[in-house]
């Protein structure tokens, strides 16, 4: 559905130097997929999304959405898009903003009031519908941003840029449910976020972007990649610390009974545990110190965020 082929995007300041925000990216996103984009600040995530939406054209390379240029795709079909910042005119009321955007989204006139009511109910912003946007808190503003993206439920491309920015934990969880409900075989959902935990919960794959390049694409969700992904673990042993330390070369004693093991895949972990137990260790718990995605992220961007 979305195909990047050696895509590069450069910004040229009028008198300054050229900045390469996206550098030679090739990537395919299939229909039905939820793709996450993770990366540190300035990595090129927003530029990548801006190109998918046709706001920017690649300096070189080709980018196609369903075989056509992104701008042509958006003009023909529209995109359910939640930008990182709510940049609507702040004197608009919530209801007015949603009516205007529903009109532009080509929601039929007869269905428009119901569509607006539906998203207001979904995002629970009914009590704010007559308030001006400038009177809303950051979280409520973000919910309006999500609401306007849901005005039409037939969009084949959905793009979220830091969608849970400003949302409280309840609405962050609710957002995950919304994304899960939006999954469709003919729909692509792209989510850019700093929140790796969130991406791990809602995405099928996550592209880790840094310095304008896709450093790694990690499969997350389900158990497909779990067996082969190397993850760092903490092992809690009631007795037999030394047996655990001996079974995992490089392991360190964090606190009494807690042993930190470096990144290992599941077969290695199980083999080590079997050795430790055979050596007299009594294991109480094993849990990942960080997710496979976090490990991959740190490795891909060289440890810093």
């Amino acid at each position: 559905m979305i195909a990047f082929r050696s895509v590069t995007c450069e910004y040229r300041a009028l008198l300054g130097r050229t900045v390469r925000a996206v550098d030679d990216i090739s990537l395919d996103i299939a229909p039905g997929e939820v793709l996450g984009i993770a990366g540190p600040n300035g990595a090129g995530k927003t530029t990548l999304l801006a190109m998918v939406l046709g706001f920017l054209r690649p300096t070189s390379g080709t980018l196609r959405v369903e075989g056509i240029e992104p701008r042509a795709f958006v003009e023909a079909h529209g995109v359910a898009y939640v930008p990182e910042l709510m940049t609507l005119p702040m004197h608009w009321t919530v209801e007015n903003a949603l009516h205007r955007l529903a009109t532009l989204a080509d929601v039929p006139a007869a269905a428009l009031p119901a569509a607006v009511d539906r998203v207001i109910e979904t995002l629970a912003i009914g009590e704010h519908r007559r308030k001006r946007l400038k009177a809303l808190s950051k979280g409520n503003l973000q919910r309006v941003g999500i609401a306007q993206a849901l005005l039409r439920d037939d969009m084949r491309l959905v793009v979220f840029d830091e969608p849970t920015h400003g949302l409280d934990p309840v609405w962050t969880a609710r957002f995950r449910e919304i994304v899960a409900a939006m999954r469709r075989p003919d729909r692509v959902i792209v989510v850019a976020s700093h929140n790796l935990d969130e991406l791990e919960r809602i995405c099928d794959r996550v592209a880790i972007v840094d310095r304008g390049q896709v450093q790694r694409v990690v499969t997350v969700g389900g158990t497909t990649g779990a067996a082969t992904s190397a993850v760092a673990y903490r092992i809690r042993a009631v007795t037999g610390d030394n047996a655990v330390l001996a079974a995992f070369p490089g392991a360190t004693l964090a606190t009494s009974g807690d042993i930190d093991v470096g990144a290992v895949d599941l077969p290695t972990l199980n083999a080590g545990l079997a050795t430790a137990i055979a050596g007299g260790a009594l294991i109480a718990a094993v849990f990942p110190r960080e997710s496979a995605l976090e490990t991959a992220f740190r490795s891909a961007i060289g440890g810093g965020t």
């Binding site: 003009e75 023909a76 359910a80 898009y81 532009l104």
Partner: protein
């Protein structure tokens, strides 16, 4: 493809123009026109609207009010017509919908222009109600010519830069000065090499002449109309081409 939603959005664009752009100039124009009518009704100014002198005075009031209202409302209407959306990030919401960028702004331009002409006509009718017969249609034609030229140039400037308002004012003032100098008799003080460049500047002098004639109820030369309309529409077309090709965010 033009969608029905886009066409339905015209009512929001018309509302934006009337409330946010034209309201202040309209109040000023009403104040100017209303002052004369009020003073006349109170006998502070000895005016009998039924006489030829009264009719001339009514046309003079129309000219005063319109000369303020049309250029100011046109300038405020077209100022930042597309650049503000890019600068403030509104484009991210508007153009993620199935909306064709140049069509959105062309429709906005057309709606603003139509609203200006209708509002100009309404103000002229209002003045006519309290005075005597004045060239209402002429006032509407003057509004249309003003919008086409000011709006066309402003639309082009806004498609290029966010400093479009300053650029429009600068271009207008420079053109006014140079065109006045170029038309001086018996000989222009401008160097001969500058004259072809001056000819390419906005025909502000022709617009002023045409507007004065229209307020007086006189006919205007087709040459002036063609020059003003052609110049404005050429700028509009160029601005549309630029909007089609340029990035929506910077």
């Amino acid at each position: 493809m033009i969608r029905s939603g886009m066409l339905r959005y015209a009512r929001y664009q018309a509302g934006d123009f009337l409330l946010q752009k034209a309201s202040v100039p309209a109040v000023l124009a009403l104040f100017i026109g209303g002052m004369t009518v009020y003073m006349s009704s109170r006998g502070l100014v000895p005016l009998d609207w039924s006489t030829e002198m009264g009719a001339a005075s009514a046309r003079a009031v129309l000219k005063q009010a319109s000369d303020l209202f049309f250029p100011l409302a046109a300038f405020l209407g077209v100022n930042a017509i597309s650049s503000a959306d890019r600068q403030h990030g509104h484009v991210r919401f508007v153009f993620s919908k199935p909306v064709v960028v140049p069509f959105y702004y062309l429709q906005q331009w057309a709606v603003y222009g139509a609203a200006l002409v209708l509002l100009g006509g309404a103000l002229a009718v209002l003045l006519q109600l309290f005075t005597t017969t004045i060239p209402v249609v002429g006032a509407m034609e003057a509004a249309a010519l003003t919008w086409i030229l000011v709006g066309g140039i402003g639309y082009l400037c806004s498609s290029v830069t966010r400093f479009d308002g300053a650029l429009l004012i600068l271009g207008w003032v420079v053109s006014n000065i140079l065109r006045s100098m170029a038309s001086m008799q018996p000989e222009s003080p401008l160097p001969s090499w500058l004259l072809p460049i001056v000819k390419a500047l906005p025909p502000v002098d022709r617009l002023d002449t045409a507007r004065s004639a229209l307020y007086a109820g006189q006919s205007i030369g087709s040459g002036s109309v063609l020059h003003v309309v052609g110049y404005g529409l050429a700028c509009l077309a160029l601005g549309t081409l630029i909007l089609r090709r340029r990035s929506l965010i910077t």
